[in-house]
Amino acid sequence: MSAEPVSTPAAPARPTGRFGDAGRRVAASIIAVLLALACGAILIALWGVNPVSAYGALLNGAFGNLNSIAETLLRAIPLTCTGLAVAFAFRAGTFNIGAEGQLMFGGAAAAAVGLALPHLPPLLLIPSMMGSAMIAGALWSLLPGVLKLRFGANELITTIMLNYVAIHFISFLLYGPMQESAGYLAQTDRLDRATTLPQLIERTRLHIGFLIVLGVVALSHFALWHTSWGYKLRVVGLNARVALNSGMAVTALTVSAFLVSGALAGLAGYMEVVGVQRRMIEGLSPGFGYTGIIVALLGGTSPLGVLAAAILFAALQVGATTMETAEGVPSTLATIIQGLVVLFVIGRGTIDLALRRRGSA
């Protein structure tokens, strides 16, 4: 993240510096995506398909009719949650590569509560399912948080390794105590219709969880930029020593970042279980936790940016199916294009620098 205020001779301090930097960063993000798409076009052409018609099919598949728009926004729901999860951790100067496992715990907790208390009125049941998912995700992320603060264990490693622990533990639950009564597959029984979230658009899968996520984005934005907690969190992220010397409770702030991060990933699990699958299943997440990292990076770790990046990645993934079936472009190529976006986003600093040079020239 280029959030730290660098002062180089090429970028003299200006009163409008902050806004200029932000604008340039957005431009750099967009250029990174466009470059990735251009490289993808070359690969598609090498495959023997016209890139224009392939990208046409991708756009059509992602936004071409009401159903595809709904599907894109539906997929953006968990991606926004995991993207925010990673962004909060980044802002506090830590890495959360563990959103995948936290998501699985959140999903399992939501399903467990929904199945255990089916007679609770929906007004009580829905918040308790959501709350338990967020608590489960937060508790699972607390583990690497404690390991980091108590033993100095690198959270980059602990969070990613704990993903595997989480995924296999959930599999154990789904083959064991939580398995459906039919006993065929690794999944829980189906949740009652009353526990699920109402549809937002008729005859599509988009549910009101999308509105909840929009609220969460707004809340995150407010928390990061308009509360003293958010301010302190950002100071800790930029320079923990400065924060410490200013008397900030760095340990508590770091823990709070882990908790918020895990809760948001748990929320993603809730959304998938309640809004999409209507039960907890093995393989609930096709890598939402990992894509969340890219989403957070591309979105510049700002909540609004995360939302935009999540919709972009959702569109890429949803549209890829149509590109595969309509144009014969293998879906693995779409995965490669997503990988290219990552590479160019990582190299965004270079683009940023180029823009800066041109700006000062």
Binding site: G61, G183, I311
Partner: protein, 331 residues
């Protein structure tokens, strides 16, 4: 380049606009009354020479024989199945084959929202007005290969490796065991579930474990088992297509699936409007299930067993013998 007069908080909205506003213009009305289009979604790769290849060949036959547009999606996870089927249904596909037991939920959900689209599910549990099922009675073939396995085993131990305990898999296992027991009532039959439909390394590991416990003939109900048989130099029964090329000295025979008859027949009824929601079962009698060539490996099977298998095949075909269908759970 001049500095862009934008605030940080607006940065996200810009991307949002870039990704969502432009393509809105592409919205188009759904096509009505167009010629039938058929699609299939499959859990694994179509190049597996196995279950997914069977589905792929089936849909290609539909395209060929009916001269209609067909499409397929491979490697669709159960979590993604509903999205992919909705995509097809909303793009005017009138017939969708959901080629996995794990797609049950997803199919029912999409079918509810698209009452004009016909769905055919592999081993479907619930039939509704527009959801039918095709049940491929490969257990009929499994009975025969069970007889062959017992007739070829020297250790008296044989092993079966499969994905998840779905009814069709259970039927296959029980029939295989029953066939083996008809030849050798003392036979010991091992079973391993992988907990996944497509996990070749895990399948290979499970099969090797069975060989190490004495099994000398395996039934490969999952990709990876044949690899293990080749490595451990034991005989193995293939599935779906003639898998002998994957182990010329190991694959005794394969239970061949030909999904073309049931796919083509069901698609024809959709075209002429007579489609009905039911269990479509096409087996040995309909030429949908058969055994592949032995490729010379029948020397490993006792001659009297070979003759008995041949007779049994004819009996099943004529209806004189009905392979018992047993889907009781086995862990």
């Amino acid at each position: 380049m001049p500095t862009l007069p934008m605030r940080a908080r607006l940065s996200g909205l810009l991307l949002l606009a870039a990704t969502s506003l432009v393509p809105m213009a592409l919205i188009q009305p759904a096509l009505a009354q167009a010629p039938l289009k058929a699609a299939i979604i499959m859990p694994g790769p179509i190049s597996d020479n196995d279950f997914n290849a069977g589905g792929y060949n089936g849909i290609q036959a539909v395209g060929r024989e009916l001269g209609i547009e067909v499409a397929y999606s491979e490697q669709v996870s159960p979590a993604d199945a509903e999205r992919v089927m909705r995509d097809y249904a909303s793009r005017g596909f009138g017939l969708i084959y959901a080629h996995s037991f794990s797609y049950g939920d997803a199919t029912l959900a999409v079918a509810e929202d698209f009452p004009d689209v016909k769905f055919m599910t592999a081993v479907g549990q619930n039939l509704t007005e527009n959801v039918g099922a095709y049940f491929n009675p490969d257990y009929q073939g499994a009975y025969l290969t069970g007889m062959l396995s017992a007739g070829a085993s020297k250790s008296g131990v044989i092993g079966w490796v499969g994905g998840n305990p779905a009814p069709n898999m259970l039927a296959n296992f029980h029939a295989w065991k029953a066939g083996a027991e008809e030849v050798n009532p003392e036979i010991k039959v091992m079973i391993s579930w992988l907990g996944a439909w497509f996990d070749p390394p895990k399948a290979k590991e499970a099969a090797i474990a069975q060989v190490e416990q004495g099994a000398d003939v395996l039934s490969a109900q999952s990709v990876g088992v044949i690899d293990a048989a080749v490595e451990k130099n034991v005989l193995v029964i293939g599935a779906v297509s003639d898998q002998n090329h994957m182990g010329p000295n190991s694959v005794l025979t394969s239970v061949l699936w030909n999904l073309a008859p049931v796919f083509v027949a069901s698609a024809k009824t959709v075209v002429d409007g007579t489609w009905e929601s039911k269990n479509w079962i096409y087996g040995i009698a309909e030429d949908s299930i058969s055994l592949a060539d032995f490729h010379g490996l029948d020397v490993n099977v006792r001659p009297e067993v070979l003759a008995a298998v041949e007779q049994k095949f004819e009996d099943i075909k004529s209806g004189a013998f009905e392979v018992p269908l047993n889907t009781a759970m086995v862990q």
